[in-house]
Subunit: 380 residues, 2 copies
Amino acid sequence: MTLDPGAGASQAPAQETSGKLHHSIGRFEPELGGALEDVTLAYETWGEMSGGADNVVLLTHALTGDSHAAGGPCREHRRGGWWDPMVGPGRPVDTEKFFVVCSNVLGGCSGSTGPASVDPETGEPYGMRFPVVTIRDMVRAQKRLLDDLGVARLALVIGGSIGGQQALEWAVEFPGFAEKAAPVAATGALGPQGIGMSEIGRRAIMADPDWRKGDYYGTGKSPEEGLAIARMAGMMTYQSAPGQWERFGRRPAGRPALYEGLGGRFEIESYLHYQGHDLVGRFDANSYLYLSRAMDLYDVANGYDSQEEALARVCADLLFVGITSDWLFPANEVRGTAEKAGRAGARARYAEIDTLSGHDAFLKDWPELEEAVTPFITRT
Amino acid sequence: MTLDPGAGASQAPAQETSGKLHHSIGRFEPELGGALEDVTLAYETWGEMSGGADNVVLLTHALTGDSHAAGGPCREHRRGGWWDPMVGPGRPVDTEKFFVVCSNVLGGCSGSTGPASVDPETGEPYGMRFPVVTIRDMVRAQKRLLDDLGVARLALVIGGSIGGQQALEWAVEFPGFAEKAAPVAATGALGPQGIGMSEIGRRAIMADPDWRKGDYYGTGKSPEEGLAIARMAGMMTYQSAPGQWERFGRRPAGRPALYEGLGGRFEIESYLHYQGHDLVGRFDANSYLYLSRAMDLYDVANGYDSQEEALARVCADLLFVGITSDWLFPANEVRGTAEKAGRAGARARYAEIDTLSGHDAFLKDWPELEEAVTPFITRT
């Protein structure tokens, strides 16, 4: 499997099917140590920047997302942009009004520098020699991209899941930069159940003999089974028990399962098999290790004495959006983070989406999502 | 790894450290097909059978349990019996009053015939040629053991998780046999989230190259990594999110983790690593596949037009025990099954244990468990 090594802007075509661009932000030093000599971020934009550069919205993507937030299906993105119903002319993130930017995160595998990228010092892919990157590193890298694009201020930063962690970290790390920040389905720190589920996925990847301690690039193989299992574990955390009862129940599989079952196959199983193998074709296993780890490690308090101290830095208007059936970032914890921010002096609102869709609601419950975020986005 | 092949009673010593006995129930035909020529069940007993054989209690164990329900730590069971605080003189299952029997389930790996046992027709371990076994098969096999022991009637059958499924199935399959049946932390059928978590574990086992399609016996290896990951996934379903916050939080690991972390290790991770590898030394991976599958497949309605029709057969007094923070068998679903049984005409009670311990409460919250079940056990 050949993965986009995150080519520098000078080597990459300026425009691909999706409109993806690449930009080098140069040397980058992750906060937990190590250094990356030449970091490239892949990004896409929609709309036009205003003369005063005061209409910029940054979208921050989730674990297996990428820069393609908006747009219909294309060759590279057969399902279209991951937030397409939310972004476009007349949509909540109105591209007739806003200049919208979305970049693939540092450590990702969709054009930005990550473990699959070639280390210029060795000429070989980084693999597990890639340094640990954090949500703060992702945000700092995005800041360098925005600086280079001439963006002096963000009207809004918004995203869900680890995109929500990034939105929150933006408000803490660069307090004067974003006017509004909306963490969706994200809290100040992931709980142990979420960390445990992440770790099950990482163990599955690392136990796959094709992982080869991360040095599988160029072998013609990759830890497909391990990554598929990691994805299955992830999918469990993205959905709710009552939602799965409604959607799958105990119905027998309506499509072929990966392998013969022991006494038959349930629909939930063939669904998980399908989701697992679908990710294999479009995602790098090492990136999965690093990005899931960034999710686990994130605590808004990191580098401060407490979450309160960190949140007291915030100048942006905050909107936290919780999802009632979310068990990765439970709604009561999202609300708790909003309340903590409020107590710390931030202007923090909380909106809740009442749904059985679980964590994934921020990628599918469009009317409810629109209702939750539009008043915040349009408010002046 | 050498596993007890489930030797017949004639070959096995009558008494082992734990007091384990073996009994052949002969040829057995599982309900979904296939045949086992000579099935052995390992079992243990406590107390004395009364002259009228009317004081017999059957304990049914959970997924990775065995016949050693009671007793202190011994060579084979360094933690002692899995329900020891509940079983003994003066305890809720009072061995001065009751003759208590617990057998390792059909398909298990602690002395009863299972995938690791030698197929007498080939002289080789069954591996995946072992037929699919169901909760009903386990119960039918237990019935043959009890018949051979001269038990004409059960005063009580009680167990948790898949032990609870067995207790319920006893009441449905042999309506006149048990006076009381107490399914603890079990419902009429597992939901899709539970099935999904089971399947993640099975995929991890089957993806392990040492699994060799189940034929790893005698190779000097077994799918240790896969079984450990399966156990980790299982452990997640046995605990609750708030319970894990309380017990582990986001604390760094206090003991060595299995491998170097990406940016450190959380306590929940080293706990999962430890639990995973602890199971490897005492459990057969193929048995894990078969028994987890039996849990998934169980629906009290199997073979009937509906759960109601099945439950209408019940003559036993039923006590369902739900655990408030259980997400494998959620309390509201346990209560729902109890209510359904009541509507079907059964004498069904429901008791609830309010705890953060999750599903595992039936193996650790002793005072609460005792309070929930003792009135039912002692009631005449």
